[in-house]
Protein backbone atom coordinates (compact mmCIF):
# COMPACT_ATOMS: atom_id res chain seq x y z
CA UNK A 1 0.00 0.00 0.00
CA UNK A 2 1.40 3.37 -0.97
CA UNK A 3 1.86 6.19 1.49
CA UNK A 4 -1.06 8.16 0.09
CA UNK A 5 -3.48 5.25 0.31
CA UNK A 6 -2.62 4.34 3.86
CA UNK A 7 -5.62 3.79 6.08
CA UNK A 8 -6.14 6.31 8.85
CA UNK A 9 -4.26 5.23 11.93
CA UNK A 10 -6.31 3.14 14.35
CA UNK A 11 -7.97 5.35 16.89
CA UNK A 12 -6.85 3.49 19.99
CA UNK A 13 -3.22 2.62 19.31
CA UNK A 14 -0.19 4.13 17.70
CA UNK A 15 2.16 1.78 15.81
CA UNK A 16 5.79 2.91 15.76
CA UNK A 17 5.72 3.67 12.04
CA UNK A 18 2.68 5.91 12.42
CA UNK A 19 4.15 8.37 14.89
CA UNK A 20 5.02 10.87 12.18
CA UNK A 21 1.46 10.84 10.93
CA UNK A 22 0.19 12.47 14.08
CA UNK A 23 2.67 15.32 14.06
CA UNK A 24 0.92 18.52 15.06
CA UNK A 25 0.11 20.86 12.16
CA UNK A 26 2.10 23.68 13.71
CA UNK A 27 4.86 23.83 16.30
CA UNK A 28 3.91 25.20 19.67
CA UNK A 29 6.26 27.86 20.91
CA UNK A 30 8.33 27.24 24.01
CA UNK A 31 6.17 29.77 25.75
CA UNK A 32 2.55 30.35 24.84
CA UNK A 33 1.83 34.07 24.96
CA UNK A 34 -1.31 35.99 24.08
CA UNK A 35 0.60 37.33 21.09
CA UNK A 36 1.00 33.77 19.80
CA UNK A 37 -2.43 32.67 20.99
CA UNK A 38 -4.49 35.31 19.21
CA UNK A 39 -2.27 38.27 18.31
CA UNK A 40 -4.29 40.37 15.89
CA UNK A 41 -6.90 37.66 15.22
CA UNK A 42 -10.42 38.96 14.66
CA UNK A 43 -12.01 35.53 14.85
CA UNK A 44 -12.02 35.15 11.07
CA UNK A 45 -13.56 31.89 9.91
CA UNK A 46 -14.81 30.90 13.36
CA UNK A 47 -18.49 30.08 13.81
CA UNK A 48 -19.92 30.93 17.22
CA UNK A 49 -23.34 29.61 18.14
CA UNK A 50 -25.42 31.45 20.73
CA UNK A 51 -27.77 28.96 22.39
CA UNK A 52 -30.11 31.38 24.14
CA UNK A 53 -33.23 33.54 23.75
CA UNK A 54 -32.57 34.37 20.09
CA UNK A 55 -30.67 37.29 18.55
CA UNK A 56 -32.32 40.50 17.44
CA UNK A 57 -31.91 41.06 13.73
CA UNK A 58 -30.00 44.13 12.62
CA UNK A 59 -28.86 45.23 16.06
CA UNK A 60 -26.00 47.69 15.48
CA UNK A 61 -23.83 46.06 18.17
CA UNK A 62 -24.35 42.58 16.76
CA UNK A 63 -24.27 43.06 13.00
CA UNK A 64 -24.88 40.17 10.70
CA UNK A 65 -26.23 36.89 12.00
CA UNK A 66 -25.49 34.04 9.61
CA UNK A 67 -28.43 31.92 10.58
CA UNK A 68 -31.12 31.85 13.23
CA UNK A 69 -33.17 28.81 14.16
CA UNK A 70 -35.68 28.13 16.90
CA UNK A 71 -36.27 24.86 18.67
CA UNK A 72 -39.92 24.26 19.31
CA UNK A 73 -42.08 21.50 20.66
CA UNK A 74 -44.19 20.17 17.80
CA UNK A 75 -46.92 17.55 17.63
CA UNK A 76 -46.38 14.38 19.67
CA UNK A 77 -44.08 16.42 21.93
CA UNK A 78 -41.26 16.02 19.41
CA UNK A 79 -38.83 18.91 19.15
CA UNK A 80 -38.49 20.56 15.77
CA UNK A 81 -35.93 22.96 14.34
CA UNK A 82 -37.43 25.86 12.40
CA UNK A 83 -36.01 29.03 10.90
CA UNK A 84 -36.42 31.70 13.58
CA UNK A 85 -38.50 34.70 12.58
CA UNK A 86 -39.13 35.96 16.12
CA UNK A 87 -35.70 37.31 16.95
CA UNK A 88 -35.06 37.64 20.67
CA UNK A 89 -37.74 36.97 23.29
CA UNK A 90 -35.83 38.44 26.20
CA UNK A 91 -32.75 40.42 25.16
CA UNK A 92 -30.23 38.07 26.68
CA UNK A 93 -29.21 36.27 23.50
CA UNK A 94 -28.66 39.59 21.75
CA UNK A 95 -26.48 40.70 24.67
CA UNK A 96 -24.31 37.58 24.41
CA UNK A 97 -24.02 37.95 20.64
CA UNK A 98 -22.94 41.58 21.07
CA UNK A 99 -20.22 40.60 23.56
CA UNK A 100 -18.82 37.97 21.17
CA UNK A 101 -19.04 40.42 18.28
CA UNK A 102 -17.13 43.10 20.22
CA UNK A 103 -14.30 40.70 21.04
CA UNK A 104 -14.16 38.74 17.77
CA UNK A 105 -15.59 41.10 15.14
CA UNK A 106 -15.00 38.80 12.15
CA UNK A 107 -16.42 35.63 13.65
CA UNK A 108 -19.71 34.41 12.26
CA UNK A 109 -22.72 34.23 14.57
CA UNK A 110 -25.53 31.69 14.58
CA UNK A 111 -28.53 31.88 16.87
CA UNK A 112 -30.26 28.82 18.27
CA UNK A 113 -33.28 29.94 20.24
CA UNK A 114 -34.17 27.55 23.04
CA UNK A 115 -36.46 29.95 24.91
CA UNK A 116 -40.13 30.45 24.12
CA UNK A 117 -41.47 26.92 24.48
CA UNK A 118 -42.45 27.71 28.06
CA UNK A 119 -40.91 26.20 31.14
CA UNK A 120 -42.30 22.70 30.65
CA UNK A 121 -40.73 22.29 27.23
CA UNK A 122 -37.43 23.83 28.21
CA UNK A 123 -35.46 20.66 28.99
CA UNK A 124 -36.11 18.76 25.74
CA UNK A 125 -35.75 22.02 23.79
CA UNK A 126 -32.37 22.73 25.35
CA UNK A 127 -31.15 19.22 24.53
CA UNK A 128 -32.45 19.38 20.97
CA UNK A 129 -30.86 22.79 20.45
CA UNK A 130 -27.51 21.61 21.73
CA UNK A 131 -27.65 18.43 19.65
CA UNK A 132 -28.46 20.42 16.51
CA UNK A 133 -25.64 22.90 17.20
CA UNK A 134 -23.11 20.09 17.70
CA UNK A 135 -24.26 18.38 14.49
CA UNK A 136 -23.64 21.60 12.57
CA UNK A 137 -20.02 21.52 13.71
CA UNK A 138 -19.86 25.08 15.05
CA UNK A 139 -16.48 25.92 16.54
CA UNK A 140 -17.82 27.49 19.74
CA UNK A 141 -21.22 27.09 21.42
CA UNK A 142 -22.07 29.70 24.03
CA UNK A 143 -24.36 28.32 26.73
CA UNK A 144 -25.29 30.99 29.25
CA UNK A 145 -27.73 28.56 30.77
CA UNK A 146 -28.06 25.44 32.83
CA UNK A 147 -30.58 22.87 33.89
CA UNK A 148 -31.14 21.30 37.30
CA UNK A 149 -33.13 18.35 35.93
CA UNK A 150 -31.34 15.09 36.71
CA UNK A 151 -33.10 13.33 33.85
CA UNK A 152 -31.26 15.52 31.34
CA UNK A 153 -27.85 15.33 32.99
CA UNK A 154 -26.80 12.04 31.36
CA UNK A 155 -27.78 13.09 27.85
CA UNK A 156 -26.19 16.50 28.29
CA UNK A 157 -23.00 14.81 29.44
CA UNK A 158 -22.94 12.60 26.33
CA UNK A 159 -23.53 15.60 24.10
CA UNK A 160 -20.81 17.59 25.84
CA UNK A 161 -18.33 14.75 25.37
CA UNK A 162 -19.23 14.28 21.72
CA UNK A 163 -18.72 18.00 21.12
CA UNK A 164 -15.36 17.88 22.87
CA UNK A 165 -14.08 15.17 20.52
CA UNK A 166 -15.51 16.91 17.45
CA UNK A 167 -13.59 20.15 18.06
CA UNK A 168 -16.68 22.00 19.13
CA UNK A 169 -16.00 23.81 22.34
CA UNK A 170 -18.89 24.34 24.75
CA UNK A 171 -18.56 27.41 26.93
CA UNK A 172 -21.06 27.28 29.79
CA UNK A 173 -22.07 29.56 32.65
CA UNK A 174 -21.30 28.36 36.15
CA UNK A 175 -23.99 28.53 38.73
CA UNK A 176 -23.36 29.82 42.20
CA UNK A 177 -26.52 28.60 43.83
CA UNK A 178 -26.78 25.71 46.26
CA UNK A 179 -28.09 23.17 43.74
CA UNK A 180 -26.54 20.81 41.22
CA UNK A 181 -26.81 22.06 37.66
CA UNK A 182 -25.46 21.15 34.24
CA UNK A 183 -23.67 21.26 31.81
CA UNK A 184 -21.10 23.61 33.35
CA UNK A 185 -19.96 20.93 35.82
CA UNK A 186 -18.73 18.60 33.10
CA UNK A 187 -14.98 18.61 32.47
CA UNK A 188 -15.52 18.51 28.70
CA UNK A 189 -16.94 22.05 28.75
CA UNK A 190 -15.27 25.34 29.62
CA UNK A 191 -17.12 26.70 32.65
CA UNK A 192 -17.16 30.40 33.41
CA UNK A 193 -17.87 32.52 36.48
CA UNK A 194 -17.60 36.30 36.95
CA UNK A 195 -14.91 38.64 38.21
CA UNK A 196 -15.59 42.26 39.11
CA UNK A 197 -12.96 43.85 36.87
CA UNK A 198 -13.75 46.03 33.86
CA UNK A 199 -11.25 44.61 31.35
CA UNK A 200 -12.94 42.34 28.79
CA UNK A 201 -9.58 40.67 28.18
CA UNK A 202 -8.95 39.88 31.84
CA UNK A 203 -9.66 36.20 32.42
CA UNK A 204 -8.46 34.02 35.23
CA UNK A 205 -7.92 30.31 35.62
CA UNK A 206 -9.45 28.94 38.82
CA UNK A 207 -7.18 26.34 40.46
CA UNK A 208 -10.17 25.20 42.51
CA UNK A 209 -12.62 23.79 39.97
CA UNK A 210 -15.37 22.94 39.02
CA UNK A 211 -15.53 26.54 37.79
CA UNK A 212 -12.48 26.73 35.54
CA UNK A 213 -12.34 30.35 34.39
CA UNK A 214 -13.50 33.77 35.55
CA UNK A 215 -14.25 36.52 33.05
CA UNK A 216 -15.79 39.95 33.10
CA UNK A 217 -19.34 39.66 34.40
CA UNK A 218 -20.20 42.81 36.37
CA UNK A 219 -21.61 46.12 35.14
CA UNK A 220 -21.29 45.48 31.41
CA UNK A 221 -23.01 47.63 28.76
CA UNK A 222 -24.58 45.15 26.36
CA UNK A 223 -26.82 45.09 23.31
CA UNK A 224 -30.49 44.63 24.21
CA UNK A 225 -33.89 44.66 22.52
CA UNK A 226 -35.03 47.21 19.95
CA UNK A 227 -31.51 48.30 19.09
CA UNK A 228 -30.93 49.38 22.67
CA UNK A 229 -28.30 48.89 25.33
CA UNK A 230 -28.43 47.93 29.01
CA UNK A 231 -25.99 47.64 31.88
CA UNK A 232 -26.06 44.12 33.24
CA UNK A 233 -24.36 41.68 35.59
CA UNK A 234 -24.22 37.89 35.77
CA UNK A 235 -22.14 34.82 34.97
CA UNK A 236 -24.25 34.54 31.86
CA UNK A 237 -22.43 37.61 30.50
CA UNK A 238 -18.99 36.40 31.60
CA UNK A 239 -19.51 33.32 29.44
CA UNK A 240 -19.62 35.07 26.03
CA UNK A 241 -16.39 36.87 26.96
CA UNK A 242 -14.65 33.49 27.07
CA UNK A 243 -16.53 32.41 23.91
CA UNK A 244 -15.21 35.52 22.15
CA UNK A 245 -11.66 34.87 23.30
CA UNK A 246 -11.96 31.24 22.15
CA UNK A 247 -13.06 32.56 18.75
CA UNK A 248 -9.96 34.76 18.59
CA UNK A 249 -7.69 31.84 19.47
CA UNK A 250 -9.38 29.54 16.94
CA UNK A 251 -9.15 32.30 14.34
CA UNK A 252 -5.37 32.22 14.76
CA UNK A 253 -5.13 28.44 15.29
CA UNK A 254 -8.06 26.68 13.65
CA UNK A 255 -6.47 23.28 14.10
CA UNK A 256 -6.74 23.29 17.90
CA UNK A 257 -8.74 20.58 19.62
CA UNK A 258 -10.96 21.46 22.57
CA UNK A 259 -8.26 20.13 24.88
CA UNK A 260 -5.57 22.26 23.29
CA UNK A 261 -7.80 25.31 23.28
CA UNK A 262 -8.43 24.96 27.00
CA UNK A 263 -4.67 24.70 27.49
CA UNK A 264 -4.11 27.90 25.54
CA UNK A 265 -6.76 29.64 27.64
CA UNK A 266 -5.02 28.43 30.77
CA UNK A 267 -1.54 29.45 29.66
CA UNK A 268 -2.71 32.91 28.63
CA UNK A 269 -4.98 33.54 31.65
CA UNK A 270 -4.32 36.82 33.46
CA UNK A 271 -3.17 34.98 36.61
CA UNK A 272 -1.01 32.47 34.72
CA UNK A 273 0.97 33.98 31.86
CA UNK A 274 -1.39 36.46 30.28
CA UNK A 275 0.11 39.65 31.68
CA UNK A 276 3.67 38.53 31.69
CA UNK A 277 4.73 39.22 28.13
Amino acid sequence: MGEAEREPIPAWSLPADAVDSIALPGRWPERVTREWAFGDSQGEGVAVCILDSGIERGHPLVGEVDRAVAIEVGEDDETVVTEDEEGDLCGHGTACAGIVRALAPNSSLVSVRVLGAGYTGSGPVLLAGLRWAIEQGFDVINMSLSTTKQQFAGLLHELADSAYFKRTVLVASAHNMPVESYPWRFSSVISVGSHEGADPFAYYYNPEPPVEFFARGVGIDVAWLDGGELRVTGNSFATPHISGICALILGAHPELTAFQLKNVLYLTATNVGGLDE
Binding site: G118, Y119, T120, T148, V218, W224, L225, L230, G234
Partner: protein, 210 residues
Amino acid sequence: MSEDRFRAAVAAGVAGSEESYAELLRSIVQVARAIFSAKGSSIWLLDEQADELVVEAVAREEDRGLLGMRMPSGQGIAGWVLTTRQPIVIEDVQSDPRHAKDVAERTGYVPKGLMAVPVLHEERALGVLQVLDRQTTFSLGEMDLLGMFANQAAIALDLLVRARTAKSVLEGADADVAAAARLAAALDGLEGKRRDSALALMQALEDLLK
Protein backbone atom coordinates in the same frame (compact mmCIF):
# COMPACT_ATOMS: atom_id res chain seq x y z
CA MET B 1 -46.18 12.50 43.43
CA SER B 2 -43.80 10.36 45.50
CA GLU B 3 -45.07 8.85 48.70
CA ASP B 4 -42.82 11.07 50.79
CA ARG B 5 -44.01 14.22 49.12
CA PHE B 6 -47.58 13.08 49.41
CA ARG B 7 -47.16 12.39 53.10
CA ALA B 8 -45.45 15.73 53.63
CA ALA B 9 -48.17 17.45 51.66
CA VAL B 10 -50.91 15.91 53.73
CA ALA B 11 -49.05 16.66 56.95
CA ALA B 12 -48.59 20.25 55.89
CA GLY B 13 -52.27 20.52 55.04
CA VAL B 14 -53.32 18.96 58.33
CA ALA B 15 -51.35 21.61 60.11
CA GLY B 16 -53.45 24.12 58.17
CA SER B 17 -50.36 26.06 57.40
CA GLU B 18 -50.91 27.51 53.93
CA GLU B 19 -51.38 30.98 55.39
CA SER B 20 -48.26 30.64 57.53
CA TYR B 21 -46.14 29.74 54.53
CA ALA B 22 -47.57 32.62 52.54
CA GLU B 23 -46.66 34.85 55.49
CA LEU B 24 -43.15 33.39 55.51
CA LEU B 25 -42.77 34.19 51.82
CA ARG B 26 -43.97 37.71 52.45
CA SER B 27 -41.45 38.03 55.26
CA ILE B 28 -38.65 36.83 52.96
CA VAL B 29 -39.38 39.47 50.32
CA GLN B 30 -39.70 42.10 53.04
CA VAL B 31 -36.27 41.21 54.43
CA ALA B 32 -34.80 41.09 50.92
CA ARG B 33 -36.20 44.55 50.31
CA ALA B 34 -34.72 45.85 53.58
CA ILE B 35 -31.28 44.27 53.08
CA PHE B 36 -30.87 45.74 49.61
CA SER B 37 -32.59 49.01 50.61
CA ALA B 38 -34.84 48.32 47.65
CA LYS B 39 -38.11 49.85 46.58
CA GLY B 40 -39.79 46.53 46.07
CA SER B 41 -39.36 42.79 46.04
CA SER B 42 -41.57 40.00 44.77
CA ILE B 43 -41.73 36.26 44.28
CA TRP B 44 -43.19 34.71 41.14
CA LEU B 45 -44.37 31.12 41.44
CA LEU B 46 -44.36 28.78 38.46
CA ASP B 47 -47.81 27.35 37.75
CA GLU B 48 -46.69 24.24 35.89
CA GLN B 49 -50.12 23.33 34.62
CA ALA B 50 -50.74 26.70 33.00
CA ASP B 51 -47.01 27.12 32.21
CA GLU B 52 -47.18 30.62 33.65
CA LEU B 53 -45.49 32.64 36.34
CA VAL B 54 -47.82 34.06 39.00
CA VAL B 55 -47.02 36.80 41.52
CA GLU B 56 -47.15 35.01 44.87
CA ALA B 57 -45.67 37.50 47.35
CA VAL B 58 -44.88 41.21 47.38
CA ALA B 59 -42.95 43.20 49.97
CA ARG B 60 -44.93 46.44 49.88
CA GLU B 61 -48.49 46.76 51.03
CA GLU B 62 -49.30 49.00 48.07
CA ASP B 63 -48.19 46.27 45.63
CA ARG B 64 -50.75 43.78 46.91
CA GLY B 65 -52.82 44.43 43.80
CA LEU B 66 -50.12 42.60 41.81
CA LEU B 67 -50.77 39.33 43.62
CA GLY B 68 -52.09 36.73 41.21
CA MET B 69 -50.79 38.57 38.12
CA ARG B 70 -49.66 36.11 35.43
CA MET B 71 -47.22 35.97 32.54
CA PRO B 72 -45.97 33.21 30.19
CA SER B 73 -43.18 31.17 31.78
CA GLY B 74 -40.83 31.28 28.80
CA GLN B 75 -40.71 34.96 27.99
CA GLY B 76 -39.16 38.14 29.23
CA ILE B 77 -36.46 38.48 31.84
CA ALA B 78 -38.24 36.42 34.51
CA GLY B 79 -38.92 33.68 31.96
CA TRP B 80 -35.27 33.65 30.95
CA VAL B 81 -34.14 33.44 34.60
CA LEU B 82 -36.55 30.58 35.28
CA THR B 83 -35.63 28.56 32.21
CA THR B 84 -31.88 29.08 32.30
CA ARG B 85 -31.54 28.94 36.12
CA GLN B 86 -29.22 31.93 35.90
CA PRO B 87 -29.45 35.06 38.05
CA ILE B 88 -29.27 38.43 36.32
CA VAL B 89 -28.87 42.04 37.41
CA ILE B 90 -30.03 44.87 35.16
CA GLU B 91 -29.17 48.43 36.05
CA ASP B 92 -31.41 50.42 33.75
CA VAL B 93 -34.58 48.55 32.93
CA GLN B 94 -36.04 51.73 31.46
CA SER B 95 -33.64 51.44 28.54
CA ASP B 96 -35.39 48.22 27.62
CA PRO B 97 -38.43 49.82 25.99
CA ARG B 98 -40.31 46.60 25.36
CA HIS B 99 -39.86 45.31 28.87
CA ALA B 100 -40.55 48.73 30.40
CA LYS B 101 -43.79 49.12 28.46
CA ASP B 102 -44.88 45.62 29.33
CA VAL B 103 -44.18 46.10 33.02
CA ALA B 104 -45.75 49.56 33.08
CA GLU B 105 -48.93 48.21 31.57
CA ARG B 106 -49.12 45.49 34.15
CA THR B 107 -47.98 47.30 37.26
CA GLY B 108 -48.02 51.03 36.56
CA TYR B 109 -44.46 51.22 37.84
CA VAL B 110 -41.24 50.72 35.89
CA PRO B 111 -38.22 50.02 38.06
CA LYS B 112 -34.85 51.44 37.15
CA GLY B 113 -32.87 48.47 38.37
CA LEU B 114 -33.74 44.84 38.79
CA MET B 115 -32.15 41.76 40.32
CA ALA B 116 -33.75 38.44 39.45
CA VAL B 117 -32.74 35.02 40.67
CA PRO B 118 -34.28 31.59 40.11
CA VAL B 119 -35.95 29.94 43.07
CA LEU B 120 -34.65 26.37 42.97
CA HIS B 121 -35.57 23.47 45.18
CA GLU B 122 -33.61 20.29 44.56
CA GLU B 123 -33.91 19.80 40.81
CA ARG B 124 -37.06 21.85 40.35
CA ALA B 125 -37.30 25.50 39.41
CA LEU B 126 -40.20 26.83 41.49
CA GLY B 127 -40.18 30.44 40.47
CA VAL B 128 -38.26 33.71 40.42
CA LEU B 129 -37.33 36.18 43.16
CA GLN B 130 -36.99 39.81 42.11
CA VAL B 131 -35.60 42.84 43.91
CA LEU B 132 -36.44 46.21 42.36
CA ASP B 133 -34.53 49.46 42.59
CA ARG B 134 -31.99 48.60 45.25
CA GLN B 135 -30.01 51.47 46.73
CA THR B 136 -26.85 49.51 47.46
CA THR B 137 -23.82 49.43 45.17
CA PHE B 138 -23.57 46.14 43.40
CA SER B 139 -20.87 43.60 44.20
CA LEU B 140 -20.60 39.90 43.53
CA GLY B 141 -21.20 39.40 47.26
CA GLU B 142 -24.68 40.81 46.74
CA MET B 143 -25.35 38.20 44.10
CA ASP B 144 -24.49 35.49 46.61
CA LEU B 145 -26.74 37.14 49.19
CA LEU B 146 -29.58 37.19 46.69
CA GLY B 147 -28.95 33.51 46.01
CA MET B 148 -29.25 32.78 49.73
CA PHE B 149 -32.58 34.57 49.89
CA ALA B 150 -33.73 32.61 46.87
CA ASN B 151 -32.80 29.41 48.66
CA GLN B 152 -34.87 30.40 51.66
CA ALA B 153 -37.71 31.39 49.37
CA ALA B 154 -37.43 27.99 47.67
CA ILE B 155 -38.02 26.17 50.95
CA ALA B 156 -41.01 28.37 51.78
CA LEU B 157 -42.41 28.10 48.27
CA ASP B 158 -42.05 24.33 48.29
CA LEU B 159 -43.93 24.14 51.62
CA LEU B 160 -46.62 26.45 50.29
CA VAL B 161 -47.14 24.32 47.18
CA ARG B 162 -47.33 21.18 49.32
CA ALA B 163 -49.83 22.82 51.64
CA ARG B 164 -51.98 23.76 48.67
CA THR B 165 -51.79 20.23 47.30
CA ALA B 166 -52.86 18.89 50.67
CA LYS B 167 -55.67 21.39 50.85
CA SER B 168 -56.97 20.48 47.42
CA VAL B 169 -56.84 16.81 48.43
CA LEU B 170 -58.75 17.49 51.62
CA GLU B 171 -61.28 19.53 49.70
CA GLY B 172 -61.69 16.67 47.25
CA ALA B 173 -60.38 18.47 44.17
CA ASP B 174 -58.18 15.52 43.30
CA ALA B 175 -60.65 12.63 43.15
CA ASP B 176 -58.13 9.78 43.14
CA VAL B 177 -56.12 11.00 46.06
CA ALA B 178 -59.23 12.16 47.87
CA ALA B 179 -60.48 8.55 47.88
CA ALA B 180 -57.31 7.52 49.72
CA ALA B 181 -57.76 10.40 52.14
CA ARG B 182 -61.38 9.30 52.84
CA LEU B 183 -60.17 5.77 53.48
CA ALA B 184 -57.58 7.07 55.94
CA ALA B 185 -60.24 9.10 57.70
CA ALA B 186 -62.61 6.11 57.87
CA LEU B 187 -59.83 3.91 59.23
CA ASP B 188 -59.06 6.49 61.84
CA GLY B 189 -62.65 6.31 63.09
CA LEU B 190 -62.62 2.52 63.61
CA GLU B 191 -62.02 0.69 66.88
CA GLY B 192 -61.29 -2.78 68.15
CA LYS B 193 -61.63 -5.81 65.93
CA ARG B 194 -63.00 -3.89 62.98
CA ARG B 195 -59.97 -1.64 63.06
CA ASP B 196 -57.63 -4.67 63.15
CA SER B 197 -59.41 -6.22 60.17
CA ALA B 198 -59.32 -2.95 58.23
CA LEU B 199 -55.62 -2.53 58.98
CA ALA B 200 -54.94 -6.08 57.74
CA LEU B 201 -56.89 -5.31 54.59
CA MET B 202 -54.95 -2.07 54.07
CA GLN B 203 -51.70 -3.97 54.61
CA ALA B 204 -52.73 -6.47 51.93
CA LEU B 205 -53.65 -3.62 49.59
CA GLU B 206 -50.33 -1.94 50.24
CA ASP B 207 -48.46 -5.19 49.45
CA LEU B 208 -50.47 -5.52 46.27
CA LEU B 209 -49.66 -1.99 45.16
CA LYS B 210 -45.94 -2.19 45.87
